[in-house]
Symmetry: C2
Subunit: 493 residues, 2 copies
């Protein structure tokens, strides 16, 4: 299966003739970093990697692949966590957007910028900041993930509470349909009501309906006042009350409210003893929140925030806490948030989930899901944290010490967690998408009408199923093509 | 053509048998208010009006119509301005959502509410406010327009600058597809990434792909501090500089910036002499803005805003102006904004447009479009005003005095204005939609790929073209149905 078929060799030869040898990698030794994602959970050697430099090259390359019915998997910064962007069959061609990484323009009065799909998120954010503006999408992977990936997965992150998901930050889009036709509307219009908003076909659809090549992004005023605080409470119910209080008083100033449970702090400490400063202050408490207030103008927030937090203490809503007195203080708070993710990664095989529930159900949800996981696999460690304002909780599970059978438990643990999510009317995929990992669990939950519609639109737009095949859902045979080959992905879903 | 065909009579009989006589109106004397929209520009007697009370009734009624290939036109609060919601052929059945007007639930911690399509916007806003929350969609027609119409036209209004269009306020949706199947996902989830976001098929598509029956709406914290100011400058370029300055300093506090030109004030005065107070202060200036700052928490804005406006004067960015000192003062400013719209209406036949251009092009755009209109029809009065932060300008045209041939000029004037819009990379339909009015002008501008995709999706979802036929675009004959009858709408497009 690792040798491409003859037809595939011809496709690659045709792509090489068009894109040049720089634009097509097909020797195994050149493909190393295109084979796996950041999590290490997904690995697959593609038949080739193509690296177009312009939307017209993307279009032409897709036309070649479509004509020859070669499968294409678009790839961004390798930070997806659901196996969407790595080859899962040896006949797939990876389309990397890395050579399309320019920032085409920025309009400071109009507050918008045009960025190519391969541009790293951090690069785009830095560029906006140098122009006196602010691009608000913020997430752990921002130093590696790319704008195209952010759009095709509708990325979330820590500032959704204030600015919304990636979907609400896209004003215009340039993309290529599976038949190679180009959709281009990069006009920086805040209002443009002309029927079906075609952009939406590409946002969050994980490359199944087209490949994003550039976007016009909405910019904001730069935050002028940013105040950060760490607050701890006796339990999650109290922390949620605190959230309600702070949001009521601070309104839109509340730009992040990151819930953490005690294992999160322990994990962060494994990687950096410097954070023990915070930990010693708050270690007796069962629920923590990293709270950020910000405003892009108006009067200085500091005195007001200090009073607000003091009031929260007086009312008993917070039991311990620190208002950051300096930038380095605030950096340390955020560093805990990052370290705890890295530490889980360093621990090796573990279960990551990304679910959402109505905000008012967060506290009972975490209690119930923790109990259910501990029942399914006694001795396992539940690491729960998340973006409270979005109802988005990551319920991760680390294996019991010296336990070797964890791989075999992943399926049962996922099923356990998802069942609890269902009980709270939640979603099993808040911000990471479906990819391949969650396909089966997703299929169980999506309504028949919903799935039919999605498949019908997929079939209409990509009748040969060449683009991101098998992502989100498997699609049966259709008239243009025979039944698909058997999936080779052996991982539990 | 005013007599329904026999097939239609049978359809209506079947609908009556299912919905009861209360649910189906078919006598001409009962159909008065369903015949025309608020503008009076569109009038058409439908074959019948159906008024379902539940999503299951909507579903069943649509199944009946679909099976019998009867055309359905969904209707909300009659405030659309592009002829989308009135019957334009005598064989069409109007589906009014007015009996589905309940507010199903509101979650103050989760900040969301579930509202039925027929609920009047103002009613939803009031309910949210009584629960300590805020639903931000605000527009002139809010006392009549309905939530379903707001969604299917992706309504905008005066607070888009801060809160976005209706699209960004919809968390969940319940809707009925043209074949009667129900799509229902009213979960109040802030994050839910599961492939194609099916909601988007119904938002802004003017009923062509389905009928919205209920929605879960995103609520915000109630504005706590609201400050309003009227500022005037020598010309529009200066007013735009002022906009840049205020947005830079106030950031997201700037919640509205409504540009008005001198004819706007004159028109308002025609209906209410009380507003002369403002007018006398500022009448020598060529550009005005109604500016609103608001925040939903944090420190009192008043002292800071007063200083900010004083600075704008010092820098020469504003030449005259008043910071509202009381609620009644601020109401008067907004009253001018409303009166000017009503006064145009009272003047009788006039041309309304609703275009958008990049924010940085607003000043040269207004200059150029005014010149072009005056050349096309000397003596006509250009009334330009709009939502600056969204680049959304209404360029309306009133006929020269005692001029009777205005109807015959509408087409040429529209073409003139739209050409100027094209030159600035703008949109000919910012917030009102396409409907029937703008269909031809839209068809000229939309790219071939874009139109093909829209038609392909329409054909896949509504192969018999029963839902809102002819809205947004005409669609040719397809296999399931013969060529459509000739359009009867005689108005210029």
């Amino acid at each position: 299966m690792s040798n491409p078929t003859d037809g595939l060799a011809e496709t690659i030869a045709e792509l090489e003739a068009y894109l040049g040898t720089e634009g097509v990698l097909s020797r195994p030794q050149d493909m190393g970093r295109y084979r796996r994602d950041w999590s290490g959970d997904y690995e697959g050697t593609p038949a080739a990697v193509i690296r177009p430099r312009h939307v017209s090259e993307v279009s032409e390359a897709i036309k070649i692949c479509n004509r020859r019915e070669a499968e294409i998997v678009p790839q961004g910064g390798h930070t997806g966590l659901v196996g969407g962007a790595t080859a899962d069959r040896a006949n797939q061609i990876v389309l990397s957007l890395e050579k399309m990484d320019r920032i085409r323009s920025l309009d400071p009065l109009g507050m918008s910028m045009v960025v190519e799909a391969g541009c790293v998120l951090q690069t785009a954010k830095d560029y906006a900041e140098r122009s006196g503006c602010f691009f608000p999408l913020s997430l752990g992977a921002q130093g590696s993930c790319q704008i195209g990936g952010n759009i095709s997965t509708n990325a979330g992150g820590v500032n959704v509470l204030r600015y919304g998901m990636m979907r609400s930050l896209v004003l215009g889009l340039e993309a290529v349909f599976p038949d190679g036709r180009i959709y281009s509307d990069l006009r920086a219009l805040r209002k443009n009501n002309t029927g079906l908003d075609l952009k939406q076909l590409f946002i969050g659809t994980e490359g199944t309906l087209g490949i994003v090549t550039a976007a016009t992004l909405k910019l904001y005023s730069k935050p002028r006042w940013v105040e950060t605080a760490w607050v701890s409470a006796d339990n999650i119910a109290d922390i949620m009350q605190l959230f309600g209080y702070l949001r009521g008083e601070a309104g839109d100033f509340l730009s992040a409210f990151e819930l953490m449970t005690p294992p999160c702090l322990d994990l962060a400490l494994e990687l950096d003893s410097g954070v023990s400063l915070v930990r010693n202050e708050v270690k007796h408490f069962a629920a923590h929140a990293l709270v950020e207030f910000s405003s892009s103008g108006g009067p200085d927030l500091k005195p007001w925030i200090t009073e607000l937090i003091a009031n929260a203490f007086e009312q008993g809503l917070a039991k311990a806490g620190i208002v950051a007195q300096s930038a380095s203080h605030s950096k340390m708070f955020w560093r805990i948030r990052e370290l705890m993710v890295e530490a889980q990664q360093k621990r090796g095989l573990h279960l990551r989930t990304d679910v959402s529930v109505p905000i008012s159900s967060i506290s009972p949800f975490i209690a119930k899901v923790t109990q259910a996981v501990e029942k399914t696999l006694p001795g396992s460690l539940v690491v729960a944290y998340g973006h409270v304002g979005d109802g988005n909780i990551h319920v991760n599970v680390l294996p019991p010490e010296d336990f070797n059978g964890f791989q075999g438990k992943l399926g049962a643990l996922t099923a356990t967690i998802n069942e609890v999510v269902d009980g709270f009317d939640g979603s099993i995929s808040a911000e990471h998408g479906i990819g391949i990992t969650k396909r089966e669990e997703f299929a169980k939950r999506i309504g028949e009408t919903h799935l039919d519609m999605m498949k019908m639109i997929k079939r209409s737009i990509d009748p040969k199923n060449v683009l991101s095949p098998g992502r989100i859902f498997r699609i049966g045979p259709n008239s243009a093509r025979g039944p698909q080959s058997v999936e080779m992905d052996p991982r539990p879903e």
